[in-house]
Amino acid sequence: MKYESQGVAKLYFIAALALFTAQIIFGLIMAFQYVVGDFLFPEIPFNVARMVHTNTLIVWLLFGFMGAAYYLVPEESERELHSPMLAKLLFWVFLVAAGLTVAGYLLVPYSTLAELTMNDLLPTMGREFLEQPTITKLGIVVVALGFLFNIGMTILSGRKTVINIVLLTGLLGLAVFFLFSFYNPANLVLDKYWWWWTVHLWVEGVWELILGSILAFVLIKTTGVDREVIEKWLYIIIAMALITGIIGTGHHYYWIGTPEYWQLLGSVFSALEPIPFFMMTVFAFNMVNQRRKDHPNKAAVLWALGCAVMAFLGAGVWGFLHTLAPVNYYTHGTQITAAHGHMAFYGAYAMIVLAMISYSMPFMTHGKPANSNKAQVVEMWGFWLMTISIVFITLFLTGAGILQVWLQRMGDNPQSFMSAQDSVAVFYWLRFAAGWFFLGGLVVYLYSFFVGGEPQEESA
């Protein structure tokens, strides 16, 4: 750690991992409800568990991005953070807001929460991923503004590198596109149209800038490859991301009431969206192969490479699988969507945050570049268990999805939704089992922080 103020990142990472754990527990609850429908009913109905699962996911990724920025920006800018106090204050504001919101989901019926938080003044609740009460959304905006101010000031008055400029652009985009979550017209078609400006333009747009810059940072630090080379790659990757991803939004405008031309536009552009993800994989492996030093933190390098590969598989390959309009006509809104959502979110965004945590935590806990060999071995066990589990979860859901499409949407005698669900139950049992392995992997991963041992020094 070169600058003391980088240390605030630790708080953010601890909160991120705690929320990650909550996310997985609620994932398991839902996976069981998928096969034993009335499990925990009516105390925790499926929809409540789902909100907790997806909202904790988004919030822990936001904690992760903010932590990553607080760690990375001072180092790149070569100065202390503009205001470490503000960073700590906003941390507590965000944590309390997140905690209260989740408590609200779990303790009162959702309609009561809507009433208590006066949703009718500015109705924004009850839409997928954007279930938070309007007041929570406003809180997110306040935290985001304070955060952007803090890192913006740091960057503007310090050294400007491609990495911190790209990161700042991505984070600004994140805040700007979140504003569309406040627009919720009575016309469902308009509601859906603009909802994707937050959801799609996040994960297949500005978040890729955040992903790319954190990946580039970790690679520079762990491989010692020339900055010029890495920055050129970064620019070209994010260029491809936005060139394909913006019009690629059209893959969500096939069947929601929007005009037919989106079928052509959405198919062509989104079919090109795997390119930036593929480039990230080539980039990561190239840099590691051309490394000028052997960094002692092997676990961080593994996370970075794993992220590049899994993002390509989850977003690139599984995304492509159902993105062409004639295919999507059959697969839209099935378990295939869920399969893709899991591998893409885990591979791209969960793993990049975990890569940054892996790289930076040793500096923040003992000031050395890497944990003991033993701790790293445990961490890598966590990596493999979680990653292999998500691969299996994805495969089982894909199996369920293909059968679901076949039984429910094709042929002369299609089954009803519920009877098709019964027919594919075996895949849900398998997914439930894989979910336990994921949780096991997470526990092993968390345990790696407590293994201790002699930290490793920079090797020559």
Binding site: Y34, F46, V48, E131, A239, I247, G257
Partner: protein
């Protein structure tokens, strides 16, 4: 990457490319907004339909169901439920009203939302309006 391809060329592709495609997207959005009224039949969005949408949201129906293919995959598609239930609002209302408070043993259960008759009617109106949106023939069949 080759030396002839410089960092500033890469940066210019990024800035020019994203700006161009973002503006194109804004243009397409204008065009879409112009053609939507014919497809979404917004003249039929009565206060009842609007309130139905609000009830849909305030009970988090999307947390289990899909609506035009978006949402959760735990319970049936409802964009076409009006058609599936024989174009009969009363069947929809009766279904929602009759969910057992304690659920159905061993089965996926829908909560009892305790809606009054007016609210049930608004929700059914919202689902009826939704089923009339021009969705380019999606879903493939009535099962959704």
């Amino acid at each position: 990457m080759s030396d002839k391809f410089t960092k500033s060329m890469a940066r210019n592709i990024f800035i020019g490319g994203s700006l161009f495609f973002f503006l194109l997207f804004v243009g397409l959005t204008f065009d879409t907004m112009g053609s939507l009224p014919k497809r979404d039949h917004r003249e039929n969005i009565t206060p009842q339909v609007a309130n139905g949408k609000m009830l849909w949201e305030e009970n988090n129906c999307i947390g289990c169901h899909t609506l035009l293919g978006e949402g959760a995959y735990f319970a049936p598609e409802l964009g076409n439920v009006y058609t599936r239930f024989g174009q009969n609002k009363e069947v929809i209302k009766a279904f929602i009203a009759s969910r057992p408070v304690e659920g159905i043993p061993g089965r996926r259960s829908m909560p009892q939302f305790n809606l009054d008759d007016q609210q049930l009617d608004d929700l059914a109106e919202f689902l009826k309006w939704t089923s009339e949106i021009d969705t380019n023939n999606w879903p493939p069949n009535v099962q959704g």
